[in-house]
């Protein structure tokens, strides 16, 4: 509760900052201060299960260890994102305060989407996440690509929202007691009523769209490529894992008992996502576009959690939240400093910027899933969840083969940085300041620590 309300309030404060404060750098500090207080208040809520606010919510939101931990983790990642990218956000345009405001609104939406107990709240949460994102995507106003991306995202997003609402309506109509509460849908294990199965299909499609699972991924590369790189970093990490969290929550609580009836569908979506994400990423020349496809590929791995829906899957989701967000935020942070976004642009970076290259290597190894990094642990838990689930054993074999393919495109960057000589494109015009490097090192360190000892993340679930 704290996170929802305080983020919304802080979003409004940030909007006023945009009006009253003319300095371009001040909003960053206000945002960081706000985020720290929201983070500490939600940690407080996690520890004491008590909110500062007493609001009659009619059980429409539920708070437990798992989703409170998730919210705290998301806020932590956002804090790191702010600290790393503060300077870059200022470069996007004039209205710095408003960008922060939009991000705070998104955080509020994420907190709703992570704690919903009715389908309405799910819808509201997802919408609060989506609408500010459309604006952030188009925030580079003079860039045609950014405009195109925003329009495309908005149109397709609106369409998927419609489908989702339709699905919710079907489910409302199909349940015996006409309810929005996900734990009262109570379907038993028999054959699904036709209204429910249509509704479930629609919701599955809409959520797959939001998390960019194939075959509903077509917006992803264009939008991620067109949006300003700092915001791509935010939407491909924090927003995406939040979508997954909502996905898992809904399917566990509402449709968990009928898993055998929809699991095949998820299997096909997972395989398609892994296939399209990984294979297409191999052929990309632009690192930014490659990372867009890689995020589709990683979504395929996260779908294994929806596929499995057991304790290991939830733990894996928490780990994925931390591992994938940290590594991707880090690699996007490095990317924002590059003059040339093609893979050749990374040539010889190891000589010019050894620290940046080393940390980028750790991020890429983590995304590949090499042991001793957080990425390995998250993939490991996902695989474990899928094996423990016991159905369709072959899906894990397909998943790891694609993970091996993913090594190809992640390692192309490592090869460019370390084994190739610099060309004129490698020159970084932006000066790299010390705090930025320290942040990169901090993220890399966190990745390694989680990689060695994942219980510091998983432990949050069991207290």
């Amino acid at each position: 509760m704290n996170a929802i309300i305080l983020s919304a309030i802080w979003g409004v404060i940030m909007m006023f900052c945009g009006v009253f404060i003319k300095s371009k750098t001040t909003p960053k500090y206000i945002a960081i201060a706000g985020l720290i207080s929201i983070l500490s208040s939600s940690v407080f809520e996690y520890l004491n299960h008590k909110s500062f606010f007493k609001i009659q919510i009619n059980d429409m939101l539920r708070f437990d260890n798992f989703n409170l931990a998730f919210i705290a983790l998301i806020l932590l990642c956002t804090l790191i994102y702010f600290l790393l990218n503060g300077a870059e956000i200022e470069k996007v345009g004039e209205h710095v305060g408003e960008y922060y405001a939009l991000i705070f609104f998104i955080l509020s939406g994420i907190a709703i989407a992570a704690t919903f107990n009715t389908l309405l709240m799910l819808f509201i949460g997802i919408e609060i996440i989506s609408i500010p994102l459309y604006i952030l995507t188009g925030s580079d106003k003079r860039n045609l690509k950014s405009n195109e991306a925003a329009l495309k995202y908005f149109l397709m997003g609106a369409f998927s929202t419609g489908i989702m609402l339709m699905g919710i309506t079907f489910i409302y109509g199909g349940t015996p007691n006409a309810t929005f509460y996900i734990d009262k849908i109570m379907l038993g294990t028999g054959q699904m009523p036709i209204l429910i199965s249509v509704g479930l299909l629609f919701i599955m499609v809409a959520l797959s769209f939001k998390v960019s699972a194939a075959p509903f991924h077509f917006w992803t590369p264009d939008v991620y490529d067109g949006a300003p790189t700092v915001f791509t970093s935010f939407m491909s990490t924090i927003v995406k894992v939040a979508g997954f969290f909502a996905f898992i929550r809904l399917f566990e609580h509402a449709f968990g008992s009928m898993q055998d009836q929809w699991q095949k569908l998820i299997t096909y979506i997972t395989i398609t996502t892994l296939l399209i994400g990984n294979i297409t990423a191999v052929f990309q020349q632009s690192v930014k576009r490659m990372l867009a496809y890689s995020s589709i590929a990683q979504a395929g791995f996260m779908l294994l959690a929806v596929f499995a829906l057991n304790d290991k899957a939830k733990e894996g989701m928490l780990l994925y939240t931390a591992a994938y967000s940290l590594a991707t935020i880090g690699i996007f942070g490095v990317l924002t400093k590059m003059e040339d976004y093609t893979i050749d642009g990374f040539n010889g970076l190891a000589k010019a910027q050894p620290t940046m290259a080393l940390t980028a290597t750790i991020f890429l190894l983590s995304l590949t899933g090499v042991p001793l990094t957080a990425g390995f642990q998250s993939k490991f838990f996902m695989l474990m969840a899928a094996v423990e689930n016991g159905h369709q054993f072959w899906i894990v074999i397909v998943a790891v083969l694609f993970a091996a393919i993913s090594a190809y495109y992640y390692f192309r960057i490592i090869q460019a940085m370390y084994f190739k000589d610099a060309n004129e494109n490698t020159i970084i015009t932006t000066t790299i300041n010390k705090p930025f490097l320290y942040m990169l090192m901090l993220i890399a360190l966190m990745i390694v620590i989680i990689g060695i000892y994942p219980e510091i993340i998983i432990g949050w679930m069991y207290r």
């Binding site: 001793l372 490991f380 474990m384 094996v387 190809y408 084994f419």
Partner: protein, 497 residues
């Protein structure tokens, strides 16, 4: 436990310490001497560990068990047993030889080079000592990553493609193995920790050994594990990464890969594959022996046709490994005993071969056999030493490889005469190509390039003499090696029955 400084601790932490020294001190000049000193120290530790055999009295010196992922039932559990002792000894012996033997070559950024080398050693040691499946998997990968960087940064012209192929092959293999590990883990019994917590499943080796699986499950899992190990060894048809990777990697790394890393595959078959899935092993063993023997003959034939001296050695290595793999799956005490000592011998001999090849390439800049001739006239010491190593490579009596190959062949013969007969062709061909190479490269009249070269330096001489010494010593008196591993071989058969 934990009150002692144990051998497993020393053997893994000393190399890591050395690499930390190399990376942090940033002292480019001293890096070489630091790692040579450390590697000799590690060798000493390994020798000392031989005197503390696996007796309950010395249990605390040979095992390290830290709480790691309590929630999963995974401990950081490493220890030395009969099988591991042999291979840690090989690793500890090989590294000083490699580092001293190639110490005249200078690399750019030596501190990083040697730091990564020592990290590789730590990874290898960990693989050979891991008694917990997750620990094993971690070290298995840890050994791979530094080698990837070593070959890609310091290797030859086509290094990036060759090394990457190697990386993707082994990475894919190990991920398949990971699925297998997860599957077995989810069927393993519960584990109790020292502080009384009980978790549902366990990654420990003993728990893995006790898992009961149906034959269908075993067959699946056997395939998952075996692909990983077969790629690492490599046996036919998973070997295609190997010749290029050996050719392109810098020589010390090639030595590590062919001398020690390939043993990871053989080791893992003995440690994990066969004890975990005994029924599936019985089911598949003929297929694997046939594949291995095809590999032996095929690789020997390819080696015969090679003009590139490095690829010749690489293919010769595939042939030898294939024979060892066949001997493992012949599954009798004699053949396994043979494999155990041959793992050590092959490691030593192949390092000698690579060293000589490297010396020739360094002095002449030529890798082609057809362009070399008459080195014996200008470098007699090198020639004599190489001749001994080459004879060991074809397993002549009185050399170390004879003892191993004799045991392996008699084991294979006991299992099936025809297999032994076909594999024997490989040995004959190995004599053909090895002696042919010796004849063309070392004898005959000198040509323009070879007339100029000088004989070998002290460090190369030292290392080659040590290798030749080992070859003769074990060739004449292989008993110490057999004693070292006899206990393991007996236990191995008790376990799978």
């Amino acid at each position: 436990m934990g009150n002692y400084i144990t051998f497993p601790d020393l053997l893994t932490w000393l190399p890591i310490l050395a690499s930390i020294f190399c990376f942090t001190l940033g002292n480019e000049k001293n890096a070489k001497s630091i790692v040579v000193l450390f590697s000799i120290l590690i060798f000493g530790v390994s020798i000392a560990s031989l005197f503390f055999v696996n007796d309950t009295k010395y249990l605390n010196y040979n095992n390290v068990n830290y709480m790691w992922l309590k929630y999963l039932g995974a401990n950081y559990f490493i220890g030395i047993d009969g099988l591991g002792r042999m291979l840690t000894l090989l690793t500890a012996t090989a590294f000083p030889l490699i580092l001293i033997g190639t110490s005249t070559t200078t690399y750019v950024k030596p501190a990083r080079f040697y730091g990564l080398m020592m990290l590789t050693q730590a990874g290898l040691m960990g693989v050979f000592m891991a008694l917990d499946a997750l620990t094993f998997y971690f070290y298995w990968e840890l050994a791979l990553i530094p080698v990837y960087f070593l070959s890609s940064i310091w290797g030859g012209e086509k290094r990036i493609q060759a090394t990457f192929k190697f990386f993707v092959y082994t990475f894919a293999g190990s991920l398949l193995m990971l699925i297998g590990i997860i599957y077995v883990y989810l069927h393993a019994g519960s584990r109790m920790f020292d502080d009384g917590t009980i978790v549902a499943h366990s990654f420990s080796m003993n728990a893995f050994y006790q898992v009961q699986l149906s034959v269908t499950e075993q067959n699946w899992l056997f395939a998952l594990f075996f692909v990983a190990f077969a790629i690492k060894m490599p046996i036919f048809p998973f070997h295609t990464w190997q010749p290029n990777a050996y050719d392109q990697a810098p020589t010390p790394v090639t030595m590590v890969m062919s001398g020690i890393m390939v043993k990871m595959g053989l080791f893992a078959v003995l440690r994990w594959l066969i004890p975990l899935f005994p029924e599936a092993t019985l089911h598949h063993k003929n297929l694997i022996i046939i594949l291995s023997i095809i590999g032996v003959v095929y690789a020997s034939c390819v080696a015969m046709m090679q003009d590139n001296i490095k690829k010749l050695v690489a293919y010769s290595s595939i042939a030898h490994i294939g024979l060892m793999c066949a001997a493992i799956f012949a599954m009798n005490e004699v053949s396994i005993q043979g494999v155990m000592i041959q793992m050590f011998n092959h490691g030593i001999n192949i390092i000698g071969m690579w060293l000589v090849v490297d010396i020739i390439e360094r002095k002449t800049g030529i890798k082609k056999i057809s362009e070399l001739s008459g080195i014996a006239n200008t470098a007699p010491v090198l020639t004599i030493l190489m001749l001994v190593i080459a004879l060991a490579n074809i397993a002549l009596p009185l050399t170390n490889a004879f003892a191993g190959e004799f045991l392996m062949f008699s084991g294979l013969y006991n299992y099936n005469k025809w297999f032994a007969a076909v594999a024997g062709i490989g040995i004959i061909i190995s004599a053909v190509y090895t002696l042919n190479m010796i004849q063309k490269v070392f004898y005959g009249s000198v040509n323009g390039v070879t007339a100029e070269i000088k004989d070998i330096q002290w460090n190369e001489k030292l290392v080659l003499f040590v290798i030749v010494g080992i070859i003769f010593f074990i060739g004449v008196y292989p008993q110490p090696l057999i004693d070292l591993t006899k206990e393991f071989v007996t236990q191995f058969f008790v376990r799978i029955k």
